[in-house]
């Protein structure tokens, strides 16, 4: 159980390198050390030698960020400098039946465009010329907003 005593700070005086002793050495100045305003030896040891400008230097190291390294259906990643990675999420396009983003992009390239969009921000594609098998409403296999409105109206008409 010596390891436990050492861990919680009850270790012997001769083992200053345990976790408990390490925390004792930090003492109440831990926050100051963390913020870089203390004068504890821990401060000097924990500060990156590259200083506060590390991120800026890393960014400026590359004047032209490298092109996408990995591109897929779930987005792409790139790098700025040597150490900073950037994740680019895929653009969201609301299409019928919510196909995978890669499929959406392929459809856009193939020229489907608005004809393939049954429900988009502009509205719901309800043009009679886009429909087939039209009949008075009895049932549906898709329970979307428009279906709920349609059944509400159907009940209104039946009640009156």
């Amino acid at each position: 159980m010596d390891w436990l005593k050492n861990f919680i700070g009850g270790g012997s005086e001769e083992s200053p390198s345990t976790w408990g002793d390490a925390f004792k050495s930090v003492g109440t100045n831990f926050l100051e050390d963390y913020l870089g305003i203390g004068d504890s030896p821990v401060n000097a040891a924990s500060v990156d030698p590259r200083g506060q400008s590390y991120l800026r230097d890393s960014y400026l190291k590359s004047s032209s960020p490298s092109a996408t390294a990995v591109t897929g259906a779930s987005g792409s990643t790139g790098t700025l400098g040597d150490d900073v990675a950037i994740f680019n999420p895929p653009p969201f396009v609301a299409l019928k039946d919510n196909p995978e983003p890669a499929q959406q992009q392929k459809q856009e390239k193939d020229g489907f465009g608005i004809k393939d969009a049954i429900g988009i921000g502009l509205g719901l594609l309800c043009d009679i010329r886009t429909k087939t098998d039209i009949a008075p409403l009895e049932t549906t296999e898709v329970n979307d907003d428009l279906a709920q409105v349609a059944f509400f109206v159907k009940e209104l008409r039946e009640c009156s």
Binding site: K115, I118, G123, C126, T130, I134, L146, A147, F152, K154
Partner: protein
């Protein structure tokens, strides 16, 4: 004409989108945009020559119709 009366004039339909638009072709419920345009023209917009229904306008009519129904039931 009240929202309730306008909604009653709509003709709900079931339909499938044409195969070139929707290969799976599930049976859907909705309206004909051309018919809705005759009753509630502000609910229909033309985009690239195709008529589209603004579901938010219809939902607003639904809300108004519900209020009219509630008012009617409270009076009676």
């Amino acid at each position: 004409m009240s929202a309730l009366e306008k909604l009653k004039q709509l003709e709900p339909i079931q339909f499938r989108y044409k195969a070139e638009l929707d290969p799976t072709q599930p049976l859907r419920a909705g309206f004909s945009a051309q018919q809705v345009q005759q009753v509630i023209p502000e609910a229909v917009h033309e985009v690239n020559g195709v008529l589209m229904i603004d579901i938010n306008v219809l939902k607003n009519y639904l809300r108004l119709a519900r209020e009219e129904l509630l008012e009617g039931s409270s009076k009676s």
